[in-house]
């Protein structure tokens, strides 16, 4: 195997990233990279782009049998058993409990509506004040501002996250579309495809604000969905606001 020069590497790097080199040329590229680790970044970058092709095929459900066969092997080699899945009946039971809790919460909500509105107004003002304070403080001289797009933005809502240096973040939505009384906006921070519940967005008039309870550091995106009042453990609808980070 003859050593590779820079020009040959440049000539072959895309084919390498696509997996389109025969074994001998692939080995030559890898030997070159071992000697020139400073060029590994180019390969990582190209491989990242080439890897996107993996997302292009139409999605197909794998056969159920595949999971069963895999788990048989994995459990035989495992140090701990797979936890039992939630049964259908317990799922419906949980739904029933949730409805009861939601009905109770709704009754309480009616009783306390006036004072709640006052509290919400206060919350929005407090959060706006917090943003302003942070903007002018030494600790966060350059807060990061992230505008969110999506269906609500297309309807005229202005949604912006202000991410502060100490990993706090606040979402403010102006001209927010109306949400049914039994629903609420819920904020999600998405990391590695997993949405984490990160605050509820209860409107005061046509405006809402909430502190984002999950750090944005290393997150992939932030999104808002409309969920049952009180929020959900996992999103149950498509995002109405979203922005990749």
């Amino acid at each position: 195997m003859s050593p590779m020069d820079d020009k040959s590497f440049d000539d072959l790097k895309e084919a390498y990233a696509l997996g389109a080199l025969p074994d001998d040329e692939r080995a030559t590229v890898e030997a070159y990279l071992a000697l020139h680790p400073e060029r590994q970044g180019e390969i990582d970058d190209l491989s990242g782009v080439a890897g996107l092709l993996a997302l292009a095929p139409p999605e197909q459900d794998p056969p159920e049998d595949l999971r069963r066969r895999l788990m048989q092997v994995v459990e035989s080699e495992s140090t701990s058993p797979e936890p039992a899945r939630r049964s259908t009946s317990s799922w419906f039971g949980w739904l029933g409990d949730f409805r009861n809790v939601a009905l109770g919460a709704a009754a309480l909500l009616v009783v306390g509506l006036l004072s709640w509105n006052v509290l919400l107004l206060g919350d929005v003002q407090d959060l706006q004040g917090e943003v302003e304070q942070a903007r002018t403080s030494d600790q966060a001289k350059q807060p990061r501002e992230i505008k969110l797009g999506g269906a609500w933005a297309e309807q005229g809502a202005k949604a912006e996250v202000t991410a502060l240096k100490d990993d706090r973040a606040i979402l403010i939505v102006e001209d927010m579309p109306s949400v049914p009384e039994d629903r609420t906006g819920q904020v999600w921070v998405i990391r590695d495809d997993k949405p984490e519940p990160s605050g509820l967005l209860d409107p005061s008039g046509n405006m809402a604000a909430t502190a984002i309870t999950t750090p944005l550091k290393d997150a992939d995106a932030i999104a808002v969905t409309v969920e049952p009042a009180g929020g959900s453990d996992e999103p149950t609808s498509d995002p109405v606001l979203v922005q990749e980070l």
Binding site: A17, A54, L66, M71, S78, T79, D192, A223, S237, D238
Partner: protein
């Protein structure tokens, strides 16, 4: 991933439930039929299970890592077949549309898929064909050159331009390349 590395079958089951569909879809696209796709997906997930310590978060997401294992093992299998299935004429079916009630994570992944498909839609057909023959069918650049009757330099050039154009799509849309 650390739980899987520690031999936790439940953690592996969760990983399979999250990424099994995308992995099987890629396997099916590469192998062209159900049984071979199933075998490839099983082989790849067992590799994930037994080599979880090989995952490097700084190189990309878990999904990217799982799909790269499917892809690499798929290429190995395609190249080792005596008479391999030629997939270049296969026409992709229309992707199933997501339902409004679908879980958010699925919607999010679908959004990324749509972006990737949009990006591929900006490629000239001759560039897309070469990327597909290389990535999904496991042909080497020399084999593609022979297959299409093109100079090797043209094949490499189209690979270069195709990947560059995909990157430019994401740059123009002002979104990060999904990892």
């Amino acid at each position: 991933m650390s739980l899987i590395e520690g031999g936790d079958a439940g953690a592996f089951a969760a990983l399979y439930d999250r990424h099994g569909r995308a992995a099987y879809s890629l396997a099916h696209r590469m192998m062209g039929e159900r049984q071979a796709a199933e075998d490839l997906a099983q082989d790849a997930f067992l590799k994930v299970w037994r080599s979880a310590s090989g995952y490097r978060p700084e190189r990309g997401s878990v999904r990217t890592w799982v799909l790269s294992i499917v892809h690499n093992r798929g290429i190995d299998q395609l190249r080792s077949m005596a008479s391999r299935r030629r997939t270049q004429d296969r026409v992709e079916q229309t992707a199933p549309r997501s339902q409004p009630s679908e879980a958010f994570a699925e919607a999010w992944r679908n959004r990324q898929r749509e972006q990737v498909r949009d990006a591929l839609g900006t490629l000239p057909a001759e560039q897309l064909k070469i990327l597909e023959l290389a990535y999904f069918s496991g042909y080497t650049h020399v084999e593609i050159s022979d297959l299409l009757g093109l100079p090797l330099g043209t094949v490499k050039g189209r690979m270069r331009l195709g990947l560059k154009k995909i990157r430019e799509y994401f740059d123009q849309e002002n979104v990060a390349v999904p990892r």
